[in-house]
Symmetry: C2
Subunit: 236 residues, 2 copies
């Protein structure tokens, strides 16, 4: 044995966090459960309240718990907030020189894969959800509710990811959508009409399980969209 891994003396708050993580992992406590109050935890672990708080801070940042103030408040186990991932990537973007173009390219690639898998695995329920989404977008466009529309437009891609039946891909798509949301600008109603027509064509192709054609349609659509977003900003 000649692997001299440098020792990392564990800090007590890390031990506490790991202990709680372990209990979540082993299913001893699960989504919706409430942890004991900080003061009780401090006593149980035989540490100070500060250490407990730093542990909770870490778990909160990881999206494993949410904290509520006041009576009957406390630390509640969540079902896992995927946004922590996009937050992390966002941090890395601003730090390590990831560009929007990088994200967009990656998104296009992954969308292609998703379309292929969705074409193979989508169920009637999935198609129904996608149809419903496009219908709603159309309504909202008529109602000029552009904010809600934008959200639903992104939801479309997430629904598509869900049609693959693979939650990891759903996670990735949600992450990328989160990232794009930060640079999103509302689009005018005229642009949207094109999008809706394209979506309808796309769904028809997907229903016929024609992955290649559907993928092509989606690619056209995304390219158009990308051009719209890349247009020089217009002062309102």
């Amino acid at each position: 044995m000649d692997d001299f891994a440098p020792v990392r003396t564990a800090r007590t708050f890390e031990l506490i966090a790991d202990s709680i993580r372990g209990q979540i992992r082993d299913g001893k406590i699960g989504s919706g459960d409430k942890l004991p109050p900080e003061r009780a935890l401090a006593e149980q672990f035989g540490t100070s309240r500060n250490a407990v708080r730093e542990a909770l801070r870490s778990l909160e940042h990881a999206g494993l718990i949410t904290l509520h103030k006041g009576a009957h408040g406390g630390a509640f186990i969540t079902n896992g907030d995927p946004r922590v991932i996009s937050r992390s990537i966002e941090d890395l973007m601003h730090l390590g020189g990831l560009t929007l173009a990088n994200v967009t390219e990656a998104r296009l690639s992954i969308e292609t894969v998703i379309v292929a898998l969705a074409a193979a695995h989508a169920t009637d329920d999935d198609f129904a959800a996608l149809d419903r989404n496009v219908d709603t977008v159309e309504e909202l466009t008529r109602a000029r509710d552009m904010n809600a529309k934008a959200d639903l437009n992104m939801e479309f891609h997430v629904l598509l990811a869900e049609a693959t039946g693979n939650p990891v891909l759903v996670l990735l798509m949600k992450t990328l959508m989160d990232l794009l949301r930060s640079v999103h600008r509302p689009i005018t109603a005229e642009d949207t009409a094109d999008i809706i027509r394209s979506r309808r064509r796309f769904l028809a192709l997907l229903r016929s399980r024609d992955a290649a054609a559907a993928s092509a349609e989606m690619n056209d659509h995304l390219t158009v969209l990308h051009d719209l977003f890349s247009r020089p900003e217009i002062p309102q």
Copy 2:
């Protein structure tokens, strides 16, 4: 305006963390720089040391800083540790019912697009790095150093991702590798011989820019690997 978004009163440690995040984002402080000691920060922000510590804890968890004890220790800005992402996904796996099969499928999909992009964009340097990797794996196999070999095997896929020139894809691949590392079992030398032959074939195809054929070779390889990993565990 009828959107009554629930108010979220900011906690002071969040303000502190955001302030530091902002300074990193704006380039006022960058990779390698050292933040003032906690006591000084507390004074500057006009808060208690506790609040500062919780802010630093948050930034540390986000992979933006690392903390060192002792004289001339402190909080150092890192260049962004991508492992925070795989940690997050790992948490979600244990919580939200992601299975290894899900991860593997996603990985196969993403590897496909990576191969395509790598075939289009790989430079001579990339090819050289990939060649070197396979050579080293071969050496290590002869030397029976299975741990180092496993790391290099994963490195191969990361190098491939780097050949796409898109850091987002590199990030994704690193994440997936981290996830797979947790279930990794050493493989015997005989299995490795096959892998090396496959890699050499793959690289030849990639050099000829034949994305489809390279992709097929990689897929075969990964399928074989997946079967190896899925073999019932053998008690040592």
